[in-house]
């Protein structure tokens, strides 16, 4: 019988899928059909982990400290394999490009693809959460700064949300008349409508 591949619960409490114990998962697969499966498993894993651990950013450079306790170590590296495996930079680069294309990541800074903000919820989902938050906390029709939204006194789902992602969610609400962006010094603000 071959090796048994099972899900593994890591220190953070996250449950890694069986395929993470598959040594070849960490090497770029040259067969296009195999690769599309591999890519799908990787992007799902990355987004699920980001949401679990509330990590907003992922860069190709995260590969470098994956083996030495970096924030992405539990996912990009598997020390239980002999020898341990780490995802290749080329592979991670392709995954980031794919995530950007699917609008599950925003390039940050813009116009490159080796450093991104992850949309572990889609932008329309974030827009919905943002609007619900404004309504349930009674903050409609008042001007809020972006800082107030991502650093609320009572922690919310929006705590720590990077500004580019927040702006995209607000832009979507503005289109449907649920928010109004107010330009100004210090980054301006936003007014939500019920």
């Amino acid at each position: 019988m071959g090796l048994e591949l099972a899900p593994v619960k890591v220190q953070s409490g996250f449950l890694l899928p069986s395929i993470h114990s598959w040594p070849a998962f960490f090497t770029y697969q040259p067969n296009p059909r195999t690769f599309s499966t591999q890519r799908e498993h990787w992007t799902t894993l990355i987004l699920t982990y980001a949401r679990f651990a509330r990590i907003w950013e992922l860069k190709v450079g995260d590969v470098d400290d994956a083996a030495s306790g970096g924030v992405w170590g539990e996912v990009l590296h598997n020390p239980r394999l002999k020898p341990p495996r780490t995802i290749g930079r080329k592979m991670l680069q392709i995954l980031l490009e794919q995530l950007i294309e699917e609008e599950r990541a925003l390039p940050d800074p813009p116009k490159q693809s080796s450093s991104v903000i992850l949309c572990w919820r889609t932008i329309p989902e974030w827009a919905g959460i943002l609007h619900d938050w404004a309504v349930t906390t009674g903050q409609t029709n008042t001007i809020l700064t972006l800082f107030e939204i991502s650093n609320p006194q009572v922690p919310s789902d929006l705590s720590g949300m990077p500004e580019p992602l927040l702006r995209r969610a607000i832009a979507l609400l503005q289109k449907t008349g649920k928010a109004q962006v107010i330009e100004g010094a210090d980054g301006g603000g936003v007014r939500f409508f019920p």
Binding site: G2, L3, L5, P7, S18, W22, P23, T27, N31, T37
Partner: protein, 254 residues
């Protein structure tokens, strides 16, 4: 010349007369044969119906009994899977056809779901495990058990779909193959070596175990990787480049 049958006009006339004389006799015999056959058939049918009624549950639950039932049917030339048009009463009484088709559908489901990872090749044990999982059965759940023969028979029913499902033997193990093209002997040899080595294989191992040239080993691996998608490449192993065969691994439940 000596003519036994009496060729010529006279001989022909004699033959015609004889044939005509036999006709009424022969049809009388046929009628009685048909009557008797119909009677036998009715008895047989009654017996089978009783058998089906009595053993319906055994056939569905007990793999050994099912196997023997299958052998009995084959011996008497009855197809228990015959559809409604050819003797559906049999399948209906036992529910055996439905049972086999249900299993076939589950096998297709398993093959389709795992194909992207394993390239369309899956071990029989893995199929059995996954069917049990689909049916939420325990490892040693005696009732409703599924055996290897059941899988083989269900796969056989799939052949009418022309879907290219076939059972191949690699080493000492049965595997289910879903891709239309046949496994060539080199691929089978690679799979066998990978099975023995816990799922991984490389050029050196093939040269050592199969006495192949490096070129032959390289070509076989390259084909399995690029053409068939039957293995994945790994460039971080101790031995350098190795290939992993997903179909010989056990994939635990997520």
């Amino acid at each position: 010349m000596h003519r036994l049958g009496g060729a010529g006009i006279g001989g022909l006339q004699r033959q015609t007369q004889a044939t005509q004389a036999y006709k009424p006799l022969s049809s009388a015999i046929s009628r009685s044969q048909i009557d008797s056959l119909q009677q036998q058939l009715a008895t047989f049918r009654e017996a089978l119906t009783r058998f089906a009624r009595e053993h319906r549950n055994d056939i569905r639950r007990n793999p050994e009994f099912r196997q023997q039932f299958q052998q009995m049917c084959a011996a008497i030339g009855v197809d228990p899977l015959a559809g409604p048009r050819k003797g559906g009463w049999w399948a209906e009484l036992i529910g055996y056809g439905d049972w086999t088709y249900e299993l076939a559908i589950q096998i297709v489901e398993i093959c389709v779901n795992t194909r992207d990872i394993n390239g369309g090749l899956i071990e029989m044990d893995e199929v059995l495990r996954m069917v049990r999982r689909l049916r939420a059965l325990g490892e040693d759940d005696g009732s409703e058990a599924i055996s290897e023969e059941d899988i083989v028979r269900s796969v056989h029913t799939l052949s009418v779909l022309g879907a290219g499902y076939q059972i191949v033997t690699v080493g000492h193990r049965k595997m289910l193959r879903i891709v239309p093209q046949e496994l060539d002997t080199d691929q089978a040899a690679v799979l066998e070596v990978a099975q023995e080595a816990g799922g991984q294989v490389n050029e050196g191992l093939l040269v050592l175990r199969k006495k192949w040239t490096v070129e032959r080993a390289r070509t076989a691996l390259e084909n399995m990787l690029m053409r068939d998608g039957l293995c994945w490449i790994d460039d971080q192993a101790e031995e350098g480049i190795v290939y992993w065969v997903p179909s010989v691994m056990i994939w635990a439940e997520e």
